[in-house]
Every structure is written in structure tokens, then in C-alpha cells.
């Protein structure tokens, strides 16, 4: 029995070591992570000679890894900041940017919550802690519990910039280490509100409609609405890579941009490019 297991292990090892002909690393945003993981999975099945390493860490980590040469692709849920561009320029590293998909950020509440639409101003009030009870925005008399991502996440920054008009979060906000945990908590907590990528939405939570024109029109988060740009909280997802390594990775990037790759984008709950 022992020998059998050992042989099985060796056989497995052998198959894996044969396959290492082309290899590269992708690092960065946790928002893009599930998508990249799936794309890489399918791509590797089709091209058994390629091995792709996917790790998270956050957009900022991916970009600084690109600068230090410890990753080949930085996946990011935000575009490069001015100083990051300058750092790459200073180091004489020419880079390319490719938008691989869009992500719509949905505001979610507990399904038991009466409230089904909010304006940006109301969201700002809720996330900054100025509005603390659901009855202030047309719901039941129930305290609001804000769930957010950790401070260093790109999504945290995005919401701060595009929903909260760059104001700071309330100190009472519960900061969850990952998006899945927000879904889990919102589904368990009656007064909860949180934000997650469209891909994370489940039946256990309710996504609400938002208005960015002071309540004239409300738009529900959906792939269709994000595609035709009526849903306001939408952001592009990027791959950044150096032109020096473009040759190695371009087949993979092309695959994502192909019809097949974009179908995976849709299947995973992200917004395809066209």
C-alpha cells in the first residue's frame, strides 16, 4: 500500500514537472483574483505547457511587485496612481495597460430590509456614519450596521472616492478581511449594509438600486446596466505588464480578450468588454 501511494505521488510529480515549459506570475487585486484564477485554470487546460501562478495581496501589492520584478502581471481594480506611473517611468520600465473586464460594485442589504433604493448622498451619509438608522432613509426603525472591506483594499478606496466623495468611513464600520465575509455577514444581520462586486451577489443578500442624480433615476446593479454605463458604480479591471515580458504573456492576455475568455468573464459574474 505504502509503495502504491508513493508511486502515485511520484507519477503525479512527474506529470507536473514535465509541464513546466512556460511560466509566469500574476499578482494583485483580490477583486480580480477569482476571475484570473478561472481564466488561468481554463487557459492552462488548453495549454498544458503553460503554468500560471496566481496570488492576491491587493492592487497596490501587485503594482509594487511589478516594479520590483517579482511578478509578470499586476492585476488591479484601479488604474495606476500618478506616483506609481512616475516610479515606473523613473526606473525606465515601459509598461502596458489592458482592461480585461469591468466590475460593477453592488450595494447590498439584508433581504428582510424594506429599503430597496438609495441615493449617493444617502449612501455617503450611511458610510460616513451621519445616518445611523434605517428609518432616516425610509426603512424600519433599525440601526444601520456598515460592513466594509479592510482599509488597504482597492475596493475600500474606490467606494471612498466614488461613493463617499472622498470622506472617511465611520469608525464603527465593521472591516471584513475579504468580500465573501461581507456577503456572509450581511445575510445574517438584519440592519446590515455592505458593498461587493457583482460576482459575489447571492440569493441570501439583496442588491439595491442607486441614484447618482439626487433621486431622479434609480438603477439596479446588473451586467446589462453596467455594460450600457447606466449603473454608476462601475470600474474597469486592469492587467499591467512590462513591455519586456509582453511576448511571454500576450497569448494569455489575448485569450482573455477573446470571445471565449470574455464568456468566462460573464460566467464569473463580471462585466464583459463588449
Amino acid at each position: 500500500m505504502k509503495k502504491l501511494i508513493l508511486m502515485a505521488l511520484i507519477a503525479m510529480m512527474a506529470t507536473y514537472s514535465q509541464a513546466q515549459k512556460v511560466g509566469f506570475k500574476i499578482k494583485g487585486s483580490d477583486t480580480v483574483l477569482p476571475l484570473t484564477q478561472k481564466e488561468a485554470e481554463v487557459y492552462m487546460k488548453k495549454n498544458p505547457n503553460t503554468s500560471i501562478m496566481v496570488t492576491g495581496g491587493g492592487s497596490g501589492v501587485g503594482i509594487s511587485a511589478l516594479q520590483s520584478g517579482t511578478t509578470d502581471i499586476a492585476q488591479s481594480s484601479r488604474s495606476l496612481k500618478m506616483d506609481e506611473k512616475m516610479k515606473l517611468n523613473d526606473a525606465g520600465k515601459a509598461f502596458k495597460e489592458t482592461i480585461i473586464a469591468y466590475d460593477a460594485l453592488a450595494i447590498i442589504v439584508n433581504p428582510a430590509n424594506k429599503v430597496s433604493k438609495l441615493t449617493r448622498e444617502q449612501l455617503e451619509g450611511i458610510f460616513t456614519g451621519k445616518i445611523t438608522n434605517w428609518k432616516e432613509v425610509g426603512g424600519d426603525d433599525n440601526k444601520i450596521v456598515v460592513y466594509s472591506r479592510e482599509t488597504s483594499s482597492g475596493t475600500y478606496d474606490f467606494v471612498k472616492e466614488h461613493v463617499m466623495n472622498k470622506k472617511n468611513y465611520a469608525t464603527s464600520a465593521l472591516l471584513m478581511p475579504a468580500t465573501g465575509a461581507i456577503v456572509q455577514s450581511v445575510s445574517q444581520t438584519k440592519g446590515a449594509i455592505g458593498y461587493v462586486g457583482l460576482a459575489y451577489i447571492e440569493k441570501t443578500v439583496k442588491a439595491i438600486e442607486v441614484s447618482y442624480d439626487k433621486g431622479k433615476t434609480y438603477v439596479a446593479p446588473s451586467i446589462a446596466n453596467a455594460k450600457n454605463k447606466t449603473y454608476p458604480i462601475t470600474r474597469p479591471l486592469y492587467y499591467y505588464y512590462l513591455t519586456s515580458t509582453e511576448k511571454t504573456i500576450s497569448p494569455y492576455v489575448k485569450f482573455i480578450l477573446s470571445a471565449e475568455g470574455q464568456k468566462i468573464v460573464l460566467d464569473e459574474g463580471y462585466v464583459p468588454l463588449n
Binding site: S17, Q20, Q37, E41, T55, T179, G180, A181, E202, E268
Partner: protein
């Protein structure tokens, strides 16, 4: 019955019930995870790669990764820890040096695992430029287990009857000969079991590997010491908090938790069986 006896009876029964509660807590946790996890675990789960955003497939790379880390850390910690234990217990007289070394070992044992993580990241990953790698993770975990190994060795050596040592000296043996031929053969069953138990601890640690080695998703097995790996405890953390589809990820999380607990159970049972077996053997010799 006198009042005194009544008090005693009430107190002892309460204590008994509380002990029962502690047992109950353990079985509640084990039972909960086992019931929900056991039907997830099968040959495929143990030997396949994670698939479909970790909702399908298995946890093979995480198992291999944890295996690598355990192996790496014990290769580092066992020899040094055992040698250190022998030195403090057999060579050092009761002096300030012995007290100092003991104190430092205790201090190291009391440092939280997350601080080891910070340290490992600062020293191995950044300063020595190992990067996120098996070597960085193994060394961090090795340092974390070192005090456990030292203590185990010391306890085992302490329990060796001193007359054995004196007898050996009387026959003209040197210190080293005495340790090798007399002390270690008696102490080794306890040392070995202690070492095995520490493997359990290493395989379950998450905080020290977060920033030194653990990867979210790696579809291939490590091929060198400078590769990152997935690891079981971190994988469970990822499954429990991330993932785009919590409902479908959950069974995988239960399965992973079950595997982690099974490892601890197996290691504990193996250690106590081995202790019994070796002790018998030592006595027969």
C-alpha cells in the same frame, strides 16, 4: 451526612460537570466539523487541484504545501532543539547562564505567532531576500516550534533517573558516552512523541505563514525551495472568508477543516501509540 461532606459533594459534582462541559465543547467542535466535512472528503478531494473558483476539485496543493512546510521546519527545528535541550539539561549547572537560556526559551515560547510572521517577513523575506518562499515559511515555523522541541527534550531528559547517570560515570564513562549510551536510550520515547506532537502544531499555524509563504491559489506543485505554496490552514481561512460563491465554497471549507482536524487526531493518536510501544521496548531492553 454532615454539612462538610455535603459541601464537598456539591463542589466535586460541580467540578465533574464542568469537566464534562470541557469534553462537551471539544466534541461539539469535532462533531460539527466531522458531520459536515466527512462526506466531502474522498480520494478526489485529497488528490485533485481546486477548480471552478475553489468550489470544486480538491485541496491537493494545500496538502502538499503543508507537507513541505512541516518537513522544512522540522529539519531545522528538531536537531537544534534536541541538541539545545541536551545542553541545558545535561551540561549546564544551575547557573545564571542556565537561567538565562531558560528564560529566553520561555520568552520565545510566549511570543504570539503573528509576531513571528512579522519577524519572518522582515528577516527572511525582505532582509535576506528569500522572497515569499518555502524556505522563509519553514524557517519562521521552525523558530516558532523550537521552544516546544527544547522543552520536550528537557522534560524527557529530566525524567531519566539520576542514578543511571551516576552508575555510568562510576564505570568510567565520559559525559558524552553517558548521554549517548545511557540517558538518550531511556529518554528517546518521550522525545520522539513530543516531536511528533509538535508536528501537529506546525501544520495548523496560519499567522506565521501569511506573509512568508502562503499563496491564495497555485495550480502547480512547488518545484524548489524558493516557490510559494498553498497551505491547509490558510486555505481554510480563504475558503471561509473569500470566494465568489459562499454557498458552494462552504462544503470545501468543511472538508478542509475536517482534514486539518484529522491530521491533528492522527498525529496525537500516533504519538501516544508510539510512546506506549517504545516505552515497552525500552523496558524490555
Amino acid at each position: 451526612m454532615t454539612k462538610k461532606r455535603l459541601i464537598q459533594r456539591i463542589a466535586f459534582i460541580t467540578f465533574g460537570l464542568i469537566s464534562l462541559m470541557v469534553v462537551g465543547i471539544l466534541f461539539a467542535i469535532l462533531g460539527f466539523i466531522a458531520i459536515r466535512g466527512i462526506h466531502v472528503v474522498n480520494w478526489e478531494f485529497l488528490t485533485a487541484m481546486p477548480e471552478d473558483g475553489m468550489t470544486k476539485g480538491g485541496i491537493f496543493p494545500a496538502i502538499v504545501g503543508t507537507g513541505c512546510l512541516v518537513l522544512g521546519s522540522i529539519i531545522f527545528a528538531f536537531p537544534i532543539g534536541v541538541l539545545s535541550g541536551i545542553y541545558t539539561n545535561e551540561y549546564l549547572k544551575d547557573s545564571w547562564l542556565k537561567r538565562f537560556i531558560r528564560m529566553m526559551t520561555n520568552n520565545l515560547a510566549g511570543i504570539p505567532s503573528i509576531v513571528f510572521g512579522l519577524f519572518g517577513m522582515a528577516l527572511f523575506v525582505n532582509y535576506l531576500k528569500f522572497g515569499d518562499s518555502i524556505i522563509a515559511g519553514s524557517l519562521t515555523l521552525g523558530l516558532l516550534t523550537l521552544p516546544v522541541v527544547i522543552r520536550t527534550t528537557e522534560e524527557a531528559l529530566k525524567s531519566v533517573d539520576n542514578t543511571l547517570r551516576l552508575g555510568s560515570y562510576a564505570l568510567g564513562a565520559t559525559k558524552l558516552q553517558t548521554i549517548r549510551r545511557v540517558v538518550l536510550p531511556v529518554a528517546y520515547p518521550n522525545i520522539i512523541t513530543g516531536l511528533i506532537l509538535s508536528i501537529g502544531r506546525v501544520s495548523g499555524e496560519t499567522a506565521p505563514i501569511l506573509f512568508t509563504v502562503a499563496a491564495y491559489f497555485l495550480p502547480k506543485l512547488p518545484s524548489s525551495l524558493s516557490d510559494q505554496v498553498m497551505a491547509l490552514p490558510y486555505h481554510l481561512y480563504v475558503l471561509a472568508t473569500s470566494g465568489t460563491n459562499m454557498e458552494e465554497t462552504r462544503p470545501m471549507a468543511y472538508g478542509t477543516a475536517f482534514v486539518l482536524i484529522a491530521i491533528v487526531l492522527i498525529i496525537n493518536t500516533a504519538a501516544s501509540l508510539l510512546r506506549r510501544y517504545l516505552n515497552k521496548k525500552v523496558k524490555m531492553d
